[in-house]
């Protein structure tokens, strides 16, 4: 979501609580009735005219889900979720899916414009350098409630062999790829929320980078929840073949509503030999108001498999939104010399609860992982880092380095660190460090003596605290993330 924060300046804020993306949009919707049962699963599959194998897969996941219990180990508390009180399918009514941007509902285009999401393809002229300050082009897949409404730059990408399209479309256009990889990293019955997603997922992005191809531009998916009482269940699948490279960005916002909304996404990444996937997220779902009313329940399963030797998967996330965040982007380091990275900034304010971290599973020899987590708690929030580093027996020479730092702002919030370190190989080395601190009074005074306001000083110090993570983001994303951090913490100090 390039330009999300640009909207800070350009879009009139429609909010009282400082959440500037909280407007809703009136779009005629096609909704499934509330509730979840086999018929709903069949209905979703039918709406998308899916092949039989996929329906089977969904039904199996649904059967598995019925037997599972909601996990309770995370340090988050919420009233029980009534899974029968949700709509599991909501799509803008205009049918069939638009073929070009001209056919997209103008209301929708206006909304994306308001969010600062460029759904227009700027012409890229051969031999013309972009002007200074101009953004490099980014291809965007815009997912509105349950469906993809537009994907830009597809033709440009296709020229280099890159497939970037809604997964619902890939099921038809590249069934063999989807069939081969879907559920291969996060199996349908992996966990409660993944099983739920597998049963009812509606759309999401599909990316395929063929052998030796370096994706010519950043790819990006922008998720927007709009409809009331709907769950959002996207499924993203990114496959990069030998030697391929892709950088993928993900952004999310939702309207400000009093009721909680469920978001249970699954992201699967597959990196073959020498492939690199860089996955960046700026998660800014509606966090609820100051009293904890409303907000998104964000239960997300993200996992990448470094299947080939020397492959690399790097997760970077800036989590500022959601009432509850439950999310552990992970790497299975199977290929020898493969590399996993997790860089995270999680900010919680008001009554937000975040329980987030990663799992690094070292299987191959000389596999390497780096974890840098920066948690910032303010208000009455709770912020937990939970991470697993597992060194399997065959992971000779594996290395892990973990740094977890927590910053507390005010004395009504909590900061927690729960690392799990499991090692079964003597030649492997793991290192974990964690610290907890607050913004020191002398740091604030120093900045203010130089002329910074209290809020700017906090913003500056927090951004400094997060720098090791922010520098991993693509440049323009980083700038936006910085502003977002400052906005999230407005009014937290003083």
């Amino acid at each position: 979501m390039p330009a999300v924060t640009e909207t800070l300046d350009t879009v009139a804020a429609v909010t009282e609580g400082g959440y500037k993306w909280g407007f809703s949009t009136d779009i005629e919707m096609d909704m499934a009735p509330k509730g979840l049962n086999e018929d709903i699963v069949r209905l979703i599959s039918e709406r998308k005219a899916e092949p039989a194998w996929l329906l089977e897969w969904r039904l199996k996941a649904f059967a598995a889900w019925l037997k599972m219990e909601e996990p309770d180990w995370a340090k988050v508390h919420h009233p029980p979720i009534d899974y029968q009180d949700l709509h599991y399918y909501a799509a803008p009514k205009k049918k069939p899916g638009p073929k070009s941007l001209d056919e997209v509902d103008p209301e929708l285009l206006a909304m994306y414009e308001k969010l600062g999401i460029p759904l227009k393809e700027r012409a890229i002229l051969a031999g013309v350098e972009p002007e200074e300050g101009e953004r490099p082009p980014v291809a965007v897949d815009a997912v509105f409630d349950s469906v993809s409404v537009a994907t830009t730059f597809r033709a440009t990408l296709a020229k280099s062999g890159v497939i970037f399209c809604p997964i619902s479309e890939a099921v038809h256009s590249h069934p063999e790829l989807v069939k081969q990889y879907l559920g291969s990293v996060v199996p349908a019955g992996d966990n409660y929320f993944a099983a739920l997603n597998s049963a009812v997922f509606s759309d999401g992005s599909f990316v395929f980078i063929p052998k030796g191809v370096r994706c010519p531009m950043e790819l990006s998916t922008y998720f927007r929840i709009n409809a009331r009482n709907t769950g959002q269940f996207e499924r993203t699948l990114i496959v990069v073949e030998d030697g391929g490279h892709v950088s993928y960005l993900e952004g999310c916002t939702a309207p400000q509503r009093d009721e909680n909304q469920l978001h249970a996404a699954v992201v699967e990444l597959v990196a073959m030999t020498d492939a690199t996937i860089k996955y960046s997220t700026v998660q800014n779902w509606y966090p609820g108001d100051a009293d904890g009313k409303g907000g998104i329940y964000n239960f997300v399963t993200k996992r990448g498999a470094c299947r080939g030797a020397r492959s690399k998967i790097s997760w970077t996330q800036v989590e500022t939104g959601s009432a509850i965040t439950w999310k552990y982007p992970s790497c299975i380091l199977q290929g020898d010399d493969s590399v996993g990275e997790f860089y995270s900034v999680a900010v919680t304010t008001n009554r937000q609860q975040a329980d987030t971290g990663t799992k690094m599973i070292h299987i191959g020899k000389r596999t390497k992982s780096t974890i840098v987590s920066k948690g910032i708690s303010a208000g009455r929030s709770d912020n937990t880092y939970r991470g697993l580093v597992r060194i399997m027996k065959g992971a000779d020479g594996a290395r892990n380095f973990t740094q977890c730092d927590s910053l507390l702002i005010g004395d009504q919030c909590g900061a927690h660190t729960v690392p799990y370190i499991e090692s079964r190989n003597p030649t492997a080395k793991t290192e974990h460090e964690a610290t907890t601190s607050k913004i020191a009074d002398d740091q604030l005074f120093y900045c203010r003596q130089r002329g910074l306001s209290q809020e700017d000083a906090v913003g500056l110090i927090v951004n400094g605290f997060c720098k090791d993570v922010l520098k991993e983001l693509p440049m323009e994303f980083a700038v936006e993330a910085q502003k977002l951090l400052a906005v999230s913490l407005e009014g937290s100090v003083g």
Binding site: Q449, G451, C466
Partner: protein, 249 residues
């Protein structure tokens, strides 16, 4: 002009400044010397607005601003700069970004146009060159991993870039070798002019060899007990504080 009248202040219930009267006319550099515990650092913190100090009486005005009523950043925007005795580390915040943010915040507060990145860097690099400092100074995180001397030099660099009207140097000379001392002094001397004043707080006379003050004040037990010309610093150096304090008492 800085004008301090009967200023009393302390921490919690402990009174440290017991009635300071001091006038520093615009364009002048005054030195404040005194033994440890005399209230030198307290004076600099009270003037710059650090929390935790309670003002119990008196006033301090600078160019017509009631300093003691203002937030620290408002004092900064009014032109007051404190060179810290112990400069603070800001991990992850680089000097250039810090200084540009600070400078623009001050300019904004004064209704002046902000500098863009290019203008700022050009100006900052020129200052670095003029002060014979290392080029990477701007890229490094504020005071993180700096030696004691580097931190003090960084304070001088910040002063040069922010161009205050009143600089308060709180024992900026402590822990400096002679080369660093010269850099600090050059930094201050370069700013000297009809619109710039400075209060140089120091324990030793040697800094005053390089920054020759217009006036020297002796602070003891929270009061200024003697004032004089530059020769007073030499007298203190020769006789020690004890003699001067005893004489005044």
């Amino acid at each position: 002009m800085l004008e301090i009248k009967a200023l009393r202040a302390g921490i919690e219930d402990k009174e440290i400044l017991r009635g300071i009267d001091l006038v520093v006319p615009t364009g002048e550099v005054h030195a404040i010397m005194g033994p440890n515990g005399s209230g030198k650092s307290t004076l600099s913190y009270v003037l710059s607005g650090r929390e935790g100090y309670e003002v119990t009486g008196g006033s301090a005005t600078f160019d017509g601003h009631e300093l003691l009523e203002m937030e620290p950043e408002e004092r900064a925007a009014a032109g007051v700069f404190l060179a810290f005795q112990y400069p603070v580390e800001l991990p992850g915040v680089n000097n250039a970004n810090f200084l540009r943010t600070a400078l623009n915040a001050q300019r904004r507060a004064r209704g002046e146009a902000e500098l863009d990145a290019v203008q700022f860097l050009k100006m900052a690099r020129a200052e670095i060159k003029r002060l014979s400092m290392a080029d990477d100074m701007l890229k490094r995180n504020v005071n993180v991993g700096f030696s004691g001397g580097e931190k003090k030099r960084n304070e001088v660099l910040q002063m040069a870039i922010l161009r205050p009207k009143l600089a308060i140097l709180d024992e900026t000379d402590s822990g400096l070798d002679i080369d660093a001392l010269k850099i600090v002094a050059d930094g201050v001397n370069a700013l000297r002019g009809p619109d710039f004043s400075a209060v140089v707080i120091t324990h030793y006379q040697r800094l005053l060899d390089h920054i020759v003050p217009d006036r020297v004040h002796v602070l003891a037990n929270g009061r200024i007990i003697r004032s004089g010309g530059p020769e007073l610093a030499l007298e203190l150096e020769a006789q020690g504080y004890a003699a001067v304090v005893a004489e005044a008492a």
